[in-house]
């Protein structure tokens, strides 16, 4: 305590008269003084610099102490004085963390709080700066504690949005109020079940007014995307796969999370176990395996039939709902009419990136395959009008192209999969390709094979010619991989290929057209690194 006061005294040397200073030194000298004199001194200091947390803490200690020795009326008066002092501090710096925090603290300590006064203070602050998030935070606290009805708060956001709709805080607040106003499913994140269609339509109208008035304002677009819906993160077990080799067998369980992220699907591949040797020694009999997932109370059966060395059980990849969860509005008629208004806006504003992106997302939600051509054209425009985010759009587009290709697979058990000439810049949804044995990634713009690539546990042949691959990170422990073709890529060093040593069955490797082929003695070095290779093309 002594130390901190001392420092402040130094800091504010200029602001104080000599008397004040000596007083402060004296205060510092007295250990643990908790009286009104100190209150007055810290007040003087804080009024010139309200951002000194230590002083606020000191004040709180004093006030807490005084609470124990004073009567309730005196405390009330003390805290009311504190509130008016804080008001003065907020005039000095309306965005002072310390002042707002202290105000929150004082308000909750006040024996007879006047919440109406606090709300009107917030209103005043927000009218001066409607993006003062400190004030927003404080206001939410006041609303929570004083129990302002939700619909009243919704009207409050109406008013703020009405005076200036470029206001994330108000829109965001709306997105927290609406589910409260229309409680429905316990998973409050999905709007399709809660706000009745009429009020949902009203929201669409409001937000459309905003983005038609100023399509370059992001806040409305973000709210719009919230309205259109976010996928629900449900963890499901999509596929169980069993295979055995001569000596051991393993069970691979893969469960997918569908989630709200826009282009990275969080998917987990769990290798559950190696079955103990000898469990499936007898391949002439049928074996039934069951995986129990206790957390989700589900289980999956998988039968390894007679004479087979592998088996699986999975959901159909052609299920249209597979990638839809990003925009989840129940009625596609609503989405359709939203698409119409966005297209209308695009006619007026052909260069607007928010509009383009929203249209793409709506089209994805409505009919990903039917709109594929338009989507690609819109992506092209997007990259032109928003060149700073070209890579983002390329990745997003890659994701959609992969999704479409997966959706086009006629049945889930397709094991030869081609993604060539799709302009892919990234790979995703690899979890859907668990059973694929042959994959063709040729003629894209891939820079590498990401770690998730290791999910393709059944992969035997990898073709990735004509890319810019320099990183093979994901070709890791692919126990069935036999052939890798990497013609015309960007592999430069021997160390880049070191990871291939984890694939025991790799026999054929094509590296023609890579910088690495220029290295002297490369053939012998490779033979040394990967002795299993029988056919090496350089």
């Amino acid at each position: 305590m002594q130390f901190s006061i001392y420092i402040i005294a130094e800091c504010n040397m200029k602001l104080m008269t000599r008397d004040d200073k000596s007083l402060l030194y004296n205060v510092g000298g007295k250990e643990g003084v908790l009286d009104e004199e100190v209150l007055l001194l810290t007040q003087q200091l804080l009024s010139s610099n309200p951002d000194f947390a230590t002083l606020w803490n000191y004040r709180r200690e004093i006030l807490l102490h005084l609470e124990t020795v004073r009567s309730e009326d005196e405390i009330q008066r003390l805290y009311e004085e504190e509130l008016s002092f804080l008001e003065a501090c907020l005039k000095v710096n309306p965005k002072s963390y310390g002042s707002w925090h202290h105000r929150g603290w004082v308000s909750t300590r006040l024996p007879r709080p006047d919440w109406a006064r606090e709300l009107s203070l917030c209103e005043r602050c927000l009218s001066l700066d409607d993006r003062n998030f400190h004030c927003w935070d404080y206001r939410r606290m006041v609303v929570r504690v004083s129990g302002v009805p939700v619909d009243q708060e919704l009207q409050f956001t109406d008013r703020l949005i009405g005076s200036n709709f470029s206001n994330y805080s108000s829109w965001h607040y709306r997105s927290t109020l609406l589910p409260l106003l229309h409680p429905g499913s316990p998973e409050a994140a999905s709007p399709q079940r809660e706000p009745p269609t009429s009020s949902l339509l009203k929201e669409y109208e409001l937000v459309q007014n905003a983005f038609f008035t100023d399509p370059n304002d992001q806040s409305a677009w973000f709210y719009y995307r919230w309205l259109l819906g976010r996928g629900v993160c449900v963890c499901v077990c999509v596929c169980v796969c069993v295979w055995g080799f001569s000596t051991n067998s393993e069970v691979i369980l893969r469960c997918g999370y569908r989630n709200a992220l826009y282009y990275k699907s969080l998917t987990h591949l769990h290798k559950i176990c190696d079955l103990p040797p000898g469990t499936i020694s007898d391949t002439s009999n049928e074996h039934n395996l069951t995986v129990h997932w206790t957390e989700r109370h589900t289980h999956r059966d998988c039968a390894l039939y007679t004479g087979r060395s592998e088996s699986w059980c999975r959901d159909s990849a052609t299920d249209l709902e597979l990638f839809r969860s990003e925009l989840s509005v129940e009625k596609s008629s609503v989405l359709q009419s939203e698409l119409q208004s966005c297209t209308q806006l695009l006619e007026l504003e052909p260069q607007n990136k928010w509009c383009l992106l929203t249209i793409i997302l709506l089209m994805r939600a409505l009919d990903p395959l039917g709109y594929e051509k338009e989507t690609l054209a819109y992506f092209q425009t997007l990259k032109e009008v928003d060149s700073m985010r070209t890579s983002y759009y390329s990745d997003l587009c890659s994701k959609f192209m992969i999704e479409n290709t997966i959706l086009k697979m006629e049945y889930a058990e397709v094991r030869v999969f081609s993604l060539c000439e799709k302009n892919l810049s990234t790979l995703c949804h690899l979890d859907q390709l668990l059973l694929v044995t042959h994959i063709n990634l040729s003629s894209n713009q891939l820079l590498g094979l990401p770690p998730q690539f290791a999910m393709l546990q059944c992969l035997e042949v990898l073709q990735a010619d004509d890319n810019a691959i320099e990183n093979l990170e994901g070709v890791y422990h692919l126990s069935k991989l036999e052939e890798v073709s990497l013609r015309n890529n960007n592999i430069t060093q021997l160390s880049d290929l070191k990871i291939l040593t984890t694939c025991p069955r790799l026999a054929r490797l094509d590296l023609r057209g890579n910088p690495i082929t220029q290295i002297a003695n490369i053939q012998s070095q490779l033979a040394e690194l990967l002795p299993s290779i029988t056919e090496l093309l350089l």
Binding site: G162, S163, N164, F165, Q208, N209, A210, F212, T213, D214, P215, S341, Q344, L345, L348, E349
Partner: protein, 573 residues
């Protein structure tokens, strides 16, 4: 008792807005300013009156005495002109009709005993509460980024007045009054527009904000009208109406670039003080010239109301005006003389043609467009009702502007004259308002009292049209435009001729920063010892301005009117 007028001055002026600004600017840079006006009130044609003041103004103007005050004598014969003789020449204000009293009385007898529907306001009540009215002869608004507002801020004169934001822009369309979406928030909130229209309008307005940067958008239309340009921009009929009549506020045939400029002016003023581009001074527009007069008085300017100039004294060789003879026969030497166009005799302005402004002032009992709050200041644009008729501008003031008594609204109508004020404006009044007798129609406000008059608009006049000495400067009276840019620009021009090397209205120091000399030693001669008194008077008045009690009635210096002024000394030097 009357106080003698100083015998010398650097600059001598009459009292309009331009003149007041010039006076303030000159006094500010140390010139000795003498301001005289035959009228008994400040601000000339820019004045505000109480209700009763307006009634006597009407009476005075009916017999046409006040506006025949000053005549510049011909250069060769400095003879005094007879007032009556010249009366018809200075008809810059012509009362064409004042149909107030009969209506008011009808109201009084008809409704007072029977109905208690709304709080009825009788004519006697208006007369009784007459001091609550501040009725402007000129109806203008201040563009938030117009020259006037900039000048008020720059010169610190703004401290003498308070302002309110005009709260709504309305228009009359398809038989009803509706709100014009002009700001971003308005467009967002508008219920009348479809979302596509919102986009179109915002897009167009955004373009107008910096149209100079995109000449390709309008270069094909430079020779064509703004109206055609709007139609070509795929704006719907709604939007064309809003932009043309309520935002650009120009007639259809206006050239594209001018239309774009007006739109830009409107838009640039948006958002500075609020959601509309306009400010209105509390207590009325008449405050503005008075504010400049106060500033002038603070810096030593002297004011003489009910006092006027009979003739000029010219230097034979240079032909310049070196003195004037006032109505008391006193000679006041001056180096410059600034005069309003209305005082100049017909012979001296051969080449000058005048337009007129049609004006009406109504006292009504309700808002034209109901809203949550009764306190609204609205600008209503009424497009031509028939082809060829003028577009009418209507300003509706509520009682919080301190221009009318609570429960009433003061409505100003303005348009360039094509006929008499009544012919021009009556059709609009009858569409928008009812008579109190037929108060059956819900929502339509009734006219309690009305006056129509025409005013001369001399702003188009070119200086070369006047046959006057070089140091006599002519200021025009009010024009029909909504803003006051013309007057301010004119004041700047004149000031440049009066004091070519001085800054125009530099910021005035705060009163507490001014150090006064012990014994005001700047006086020279009898005239200026009185000047100090006059200054005090003015300063006092400035202080009292908040209470607003003494405004028009007590002027700082009142110079008694001589019943029979002695003949002007012929002076040829």
């Amino acid at each position: 008792s009357w106080i003698s007028v100083p015998s010398t001055a650097d600059i001598l002026l009459h009292l309009g807005l331009s003149e007041s600004v010039i006076a303030a600017a000159c006094a500010r840079v140390g010139q000795r300013v003498l301001h005289v006006d035959r009228r008994s009130y400040y601000a000339a044609n820019w004045a505000s009156f109480t209700f009763n003041g307006l009634l006597s103004w009407i009476d005075d103007n009916k017999v046409c005495t006040y506006f025949t005050l000053l005549f510049i004598t011909p250069v060769n014969s400095f003879k005094q002109q007879d007032q009556e003789e010249c009366a018809p020449l200075a008809e810059d204000q012509q009362i064409l009709s004042s149909d107030g009293e009969p209506q008011g009385e009808e109201q009084l007898s008809g409704s007072a005993p029977t109905q208690a529907k709304k709080k009825k306001i009788s004519y006697t009540k208006i007369v009784k509460e007459g001091r609550r009215f501040n009725i402007d002869l000129v109806s203008k608004l201040m563009y938030s980024r117009g020259l006037l507002v900039d000048l008020l801020i720059k010169s610190n004169v703004s401290r003498y007045a308070e302002f309110k934001n005009v709260s709504r822009i309305l228009t009359y369309r398809q038989g009803k009054v509706e709100q014009v979406p002009c700001s971003r928030a308005d467009v967002f909130g508008s219920k009348e527009l479809t979302v596509v229209e919102k986009r179109m309008l915002m897009k167009f307005l955004t373009f107008c904000l910096d149209y100079e940067q995109h000449p390709e958008e309008y270069q094909d239309f430079t020779e064509r009208s703004f109206w055609e340009f709007l139609q070509n921009n795929m704006l719907t009929e709604n939007l064309q109406h809003f932009v043309l009549h309520s935002i650009a506020m120009v007639p259809r045939e206006t050239h594209t670039e001018e239309g774009l400029r007006s739109t830009q002016h409107f838009l640039r003023s948006l958002g500075r003080y609020g959601n509309t581009p306009f400010l209105f001074p509390i207590y009325g527009l008449g405050e503005i010239p008075q504010c400049f007069c106060r500033m002038c008085a603070v810096f030593g300017g002297i004011y003489c109301l009910r006092h006027s100039v009979q003739c000029l004294v010219l230097d034979k060789e240079s032909g310049r005006c070196k003195a004037v003879i006032d109505t008391c026969g006193q000679r006041i030497s001056c180096s410059h003389f600034v005069v309003e166009d209305g005082y100049i005799r017909e012979e001296q302005r051969k080449g000058v043609e005048h337009k007129h402004i049609s004006r009406a002032v109504l006292i009504t009992d309700g808002l034209l467009l109901q809203s949550e709050s009764e306190q609204q200041i609205s600008l209503v644009t009424v497009p031509p009702l028939e082809p060829g008729a003028p577009a009418v501008r209507l300003v509706e003031l509520c009682s919080s502007t301190m221009t009318c008594m609570p429960g009433t609204y003061l409505v100003h109508l303005t348009c360039p004259s094509s006929g008499s004020a009544r012919e021009d404006l009556q059709p609009v009044v009858s569409r928008l308002f009812t008579k109190p007798a037929s108060a059956g129609e819900e929502g339509t406000p009734a006219v309690l009292w009305a006056v129509y008059f025409n005013m001369r608009d001399s702003t188009a006049a070119d200086r070369s049209g006047y046959d006057l000495p070089g140091n006599v400067h002519v200021c025009s009276g009010p024009d029909a435009a909504l803003g006051s840019d013309h007057s301010i620009r004119l004041a700047q021009e004149v000031f440049r001729q009066l004091a070519p090397h001085e800054e125009f209205c530099p910021p005035a120091p705060n009163p507490e920063d001014i150090v006064y000399d012990g014994d005001g030693g700047q006086g020279e001669g009898a005239g200026f010892s009185e000047a100090a008194q006059a200054e005090e008077g003015a300063a006092e008045e400035a202080e009292e301005s908040k209470e607003k009690e003494a405004s028009q009635e007590s002027s700082p210096v009142e110079v008694g009117e001589m019943p029979d002024p002695p003949p002007a000394p012929l002076a040829e030097e």
